[in-house]
Symmetry: C2
Subunit: 245 residues, 2 copies
Amino acid sequence: MKYVRFRDPAGAVRRGEYENGTVHFANESYDLESDDIDVLPPSEPSKIVCIGRNYADHADEMGSDLPDRPMLFLKPPNALAGHGDTVTAPAGKERIDYEAELGVVIGEQCRHVPEADAMDVVAGFTCVNDISNRDDQNQEQNWVRGKAFDGAAPMGPVLATPDEVPADAAVRSRVNGELKQDGSREQLIFSIPELIAEITTYLTLEPGDVIATGTPEGVGPLADGDEIEIEVEGVGTLEHSIRRP
Amino acid sequence: MKYVRFRDPAGAVRRGEYENGTVHFANESYDLESDDIDVLPPSEPSKIVCIGRNYADHADEMGSDLPDRPMLFLKPPNALAGHGDTVTAPAGKERIDYEAELGVVIGEQCRHVPEADAMDVVAGFTCVNDISNRDDQNQEQNWVRGKAFDGAAPMGPVLATPDEVPADAAVRSRVNGELKQDGSREQLIFSIPELIAEITTYLTLEPGDVIATGTPEGVGPLADGDEIEIEVEGVGTLEHSIRRP
C-alpha cells in the first residue's frame, strides 16, 4: 500500500491511498501533481534521526572513516518540507548539497526495540533529501546550522509499506534531470533493524518520527533554481526546487 | 507573573498562576508539591536549542576554547522531564553529569529576529538541567546519545516573565542539598538576544520552544538516587532525582 498526506481543496488535511499518480480519499480522487491539493510530508515527526556515513562509498568521498556504530544527528520539525516545495537555503553560503536517502517512518511509540522486532515498529518508507549546508557543517561540533535549518529535510510524497520496497531498492538523486546518486538499500553499513535498535537504546521514537538512513556517494552542490529529484525504488520520487539567496 | 503547567486531579492539563508555592487555576488552588497535581514542563517545545560553552569558567573546566559564535546543539521532545520526576539515565555509563541552565521559553513563531527585538519573542524563563552522558558525548560528532536521550532535559516548574528575573540572576545547582554551581546570567558569553538572533538566522522558533543558555562551572557526576536542584534566581527551583541503571 502507498499513502499520501495532503491538504484538500477545502483545506482539510487528509491521508489518501496512492496509486499510479492518483491520490484517493473517500469519493474523491486527485492527481498528485494537480494544483487542487497541497502535498504534505507523509508524517508529522517530532524528530528526524539522521545517520551519517552509512554507505562506505559516501564516507570515502567525504574523506571520513567508517563508523564503528551508527553516527547519529538530528533534524527538528522546522526542517520539514514537502513534495513540490521550494526550499530557501541559508543565505550567503558557498556550498549547499543534496543527499538522497531512504526514510523510515515509525508507526508506533517504542523504546528498547530488539533488532528482531524492529520491522514491527515501521509504518513504511519514504524519500528524504538530507540537504546540507557544508559551510557551517564543516565548522560545527553539532550540525545545527549545517543540517537543521528550515527546509533542510524535504520528504515524501509517498509513504510505502515495507512490502512495496525491495531489499535492494535503488536510492537515487537527479538534479535538473541528471542522475547524480545511484545507490542501493543493500549497501547500508547499518541495516534498518540495527539503526532502530541502536537509536531506541537511548531515545523513544514516536509515531511519525523518521529515520533518514544515510546517503550513497555522489553528493554535490545545488545552485539557485535547481530542480531536485530523490527516488527510492518501490516508493516513488520526491521533487522540489531550491532557492539560494 | 509566574506560571505552572500541571495535570489537575481530573487529569486535565492546566496552566495556573504561581505564587509562593501555590498554583491557582479558576477557583482551585494547589500546593506545588502536593500529590494532587502532576507538575508538567512549562511548555511543549518542538525542539530545545542548547548552547555549549557559554560561560568562560565552564569552557575552561572542560578544557575547551571559547567559541567565536554560539555553539548549538539540539534536544528533541523525548528529552523532556518535569519537576519531581525521576530520570532514568542510559544504562551502564560511567559518567552522567548535571548542568544547571537558564532556559528561555519562546512565545511566538519567529525567524530572522534582530537582537534589538529579541526580547519581544520571549514568553519567559525557566530552569533546565542539561543532563549529559559524557561516555557517549566524548565519542560522538553530534551529541545525540550524549545529550538527547529520554529525560535529558528536566525543565520547570515555573515559567517566570522576563521582568521577574534580574539581569544578574544566579544560576545554581545543588546535589543532595550541596551547592555545586553558582553562576550568573551576567556571565553569559552570548546574551539571550544574541542567541535568539543567531538561532533564527537558520531555524524558525515556535511557541514553547526552549533555548537552554549554557552552564557555569562546577558540573559533576550524578549517582543513583541523587536529588538534584536547579535554581534560577527570580524563577524558582526545579527538583528531580536520577536513577542510574
